[in-house]
Amino acid sequence: MASKTLDVLGLKCPQPILKMAIEAPKLQAGDVLEVLADCPSFPRDIENWCKKTGKTLLFCRDEGGKFTAQVQF
């Protein structure tokens, strides 16, 4: 199991999710992707993306408008 961090700070919807999707094929089942984002729609978008793509959202933490999320593949 590996973990990787994706920094999408400063990017607006739909770029954070788009960059995650482009990163996704490089990850294997069980890997964890940590995403740093500050787009206001990110928490709902990542929740819905995980539901649709069958990934597990471990958490999405709001640190004053900066979000840290972890997704398990």
Partner: protein
């Protein structure tokens, strides 16, 4: 996963940005995205135009365009547009495929989401 079909009728930001915000979001979520540019959008398909099209508050159009492509999306230009717009295939960017309406309609059979901008 599903299919999304978008018909893009113009070369202005009001047509291009909704096409690629929704298209790239759908592609990122695993849908196959089909964008069909009608002759009204031909000016956007000349080399370099997508790269230069910006709109305040929106992500770069070329990043969303490239995202759709990287995730398997199809970018089509209506074949009728060549003669109608007096352009040749070589005048257009090389990542757009020329197809007829029948091909587009056949490929989008079963699309759950369709848009026209």
């Amino acid at each position: 996963m599903g299919k999304m079909a978008i018909v893009c009728n113009g070369a202005e930001p009001k047509s291009l940005f909704p096409t690629f915000v929704l298209g790239s979001s759908a592609a990122a979520s695993g849908d196959t995205v089909y964008v069909f540019f009608t002759p009204g959008a031909v000016a956007a398909l000349k080399p370099g135009v997508v790269e230069e099209t910006k709109k305040k508050g929106f992500p770069d159009l070329i990043e969303m365009w490239n995202g759709v492509k990287a995730l398997g999306g199809k970018l089509y230009f209506c074949e009728l547009g060549l003669e109608a717009c007096d352009v040749k295939k070589e005048d257009l960017r090389d990542d757009v495929e020329l197809v007829g309406a029948t091909t587009f309609l056949t490929e989008i059979q079963g699309a759950q989401l369709t848009f026209s901008f």
